[in-house]
């Protein structure tokens, strides 16, 4: 379980995360919503250790993230808006590189499985830089999952993928969650929330203003009120904001 307690982060004078509490359990699929600048990317980067927080603590399965050995990072697979791939290497070479970096056994097999999982086997020998944005994003997902991480964090990566691959990724994250992985994805796509997530969390100005299990929400009502919710949370939720 990833548990963040009272984490804060600022860039200069701008407070991006403020005393935020968050948890992600194995088997859970959490959709992270919020307007641009709400702090979604900063939260994702903080949870996996890419960004240091100014205060608070992040525990991963009981171990403090900042004090633990680097091996704890093996538990994370992170897909960010940038692909984190090498454009002059082929799809296969990129995945082989990451498989070697993680010192994985049966590398060829894993690379082939990952390419197949993302329907990229036929493009394996093409340079990554020549692929479309959507294909690069799929390869990036394969990269993040090649070492079979326990927690997979996606930062608005489903943008730019066509419907078929969005559905494919929904199936993929549901399968991974079924196998006990914890999934967190940030998105602006409310349909994606209701087709994939088990819990929805809304960030507003660096704080969580809403956290509910998806099964108790009425999709139509939520979609109607969402814009007001992220723009004027106090008016919609009342002064005592709802949190779980």
């Amino acid at each position: 379980m990833i548990r963040a307690e009272k984490i804060s982060k600022s860039y200069g004078n701008r407070l991006v995360l403020r005393d935020l509490d968050f948890s992600l359990e194995p088997g859970e699929i959490v959709a992270l919503l919020g307007v641009n600048g709400a702090g979604k990317t900063t939260l994702i980067r903080a949870l996996c250790g890419l960004n240091k927080t100014d205060s608070g603590s992040i525990q991963v399965d009981g171990d403090n993230l900042s004090d633990s050995s680097p091996d704890i990072r093996r538990k994370f697979g992170v897909v960010l808006h940038s692909t984190l791939l090498y454009n002059n290497l082929t799809c296969r070479e990129n995945l082989e590189f990451y498989a070697r970096l993680y010192d994985l056994d049966s590398r060829n097999e894993r690379v082939n499985q990952s390419l197949e999982m993302m329907d990229l086997l036929s493009r394996a020998s093409e340079k990554t830089g020549t692929l479309s944005r959507g294909m690069q994003q799929r390869l990036s997902i394969a990269r993040a999952m090649i070492h079979d991480p326990l927690y997979i964090l996606f930062d608005e990566v489903f943008t730019g993928l066509d419907r078929r691959f969005v559905n494919m990724n929904i199936e993929l994250i549901q399968r991974e969650a079924g196998a006990g992985k914890g999934i967190l994805f940030s998105t602006h796509d409310l349909d994606m929330v209701f087709s994939a997530a088990t819990r929805v969390v809304i960030l507003h100005k660096g704080d969580i203003i809403f956290s509910q299990a998806v099964e108790v929400l009425d999709p139509q009502h939520f979609k109607r009120t969402y814009d007001d919710l992220v723009q004027e949370p106090d008016q919609v939720l009342g002064s005592s904001r709802r949190r779980n």
Partner: protein
């Protein structure tokens, strides 16, 4: 063992990338050969003077050519933010440091070999001596140890080109002084005691820069 494997994985990834693009070695070689040939053909020097001048000309050339490599290899990691994926790997960031040191040192040694060969050929002087090669190895190693550190800093502050040189060259002055003097003495065969002092300084700076790299690289990437 895993640490060495990870260093080698990053190093060989950089080599594959270079094999595809020839961007780093290509620009370094063109620059270095032009500089050496201009120096050689601008002055009508005797063989003896060409030998005495070799040390300064070769180190100036390598010093500037090296910045092209340092800038390019870190730009490669910044292009698609792949540095974040490297930082997420289950190792201390010194893995990235050693891989970058190894890669940049390799590129600089290739250029050094060709530059020295060109100088020897067109200047008609013998430079391939054991002593000179040893000093080239030590000097370029020290240069890259500090260069890889400053290259990472340059990447983090998202600057390219001039700032790398502005930060790097002042730090390199003692190392370059030692390298130039030691090379000059080993080529001319003068002052063995002085040579030992300069070689000692060179070794000292290599160790100092190695320690600084190991201690600071993590912190630079974390910021």
């Amino acid at each position: 063992m895993k640490f060495i494997k990870a260093v080698y994985a990053i190093f060989s990834k950089d080599l594959i990338n270079e094999k595809r693009t020839f961007e780093t070695l290509g620009s370094m070689l063109v620059f270095a050969l032009i500089v050496v040939l201009i120096f050689l053909f601008s002055f009508d020097l005797s063989v003896g003077l060409r030998k005495e001048a070799a040390s300064g000309i070769i180190w100036v050339t390598l010093c500037f050519a090296g910045t092209l490599s340092l800038d390019r290899t870190m730009a490669l990691e910044r292009e698609t933010e792949a540095i974040d994926a490297l930082r997420m790997a289950p190792y201390d960031a010194t893995v990235i440091y050693f891989a970058k040191v190894l890669g940049n040192w390799f590129f600089l040694l290739v250029v050094a070999g060709i530059v020295v060969a060109a100088y020897a050929l067109f200047g008609n002087v013998m430079l391939f001596t054991g002593g000179f090669i040893a000093i080239l190895l030590m000097g370029t190693f020290g240069y890259i140890l500090i260069g890889a550190l400053v290259g990472a800093l340059n990447m983090q502050i998202r600057s390219r080109g001039p700032l790398l040189s502005v930060l790097l060259f002042p730090l390199l002055i003692p190392l370059l002084l030692a390298a130039v003097n030691a090379s000059s003495l080993v080529l001319t065969g003068n002052d063995p005691a002085g040579l030992r002092t300069w070689v000692g300084m060179l070794a000292g700076y290599d160790l100092l820069f190695l320690a600084a790299g190991i201690m600071l690289y993590n912190k630079i990437l974390d910021e």
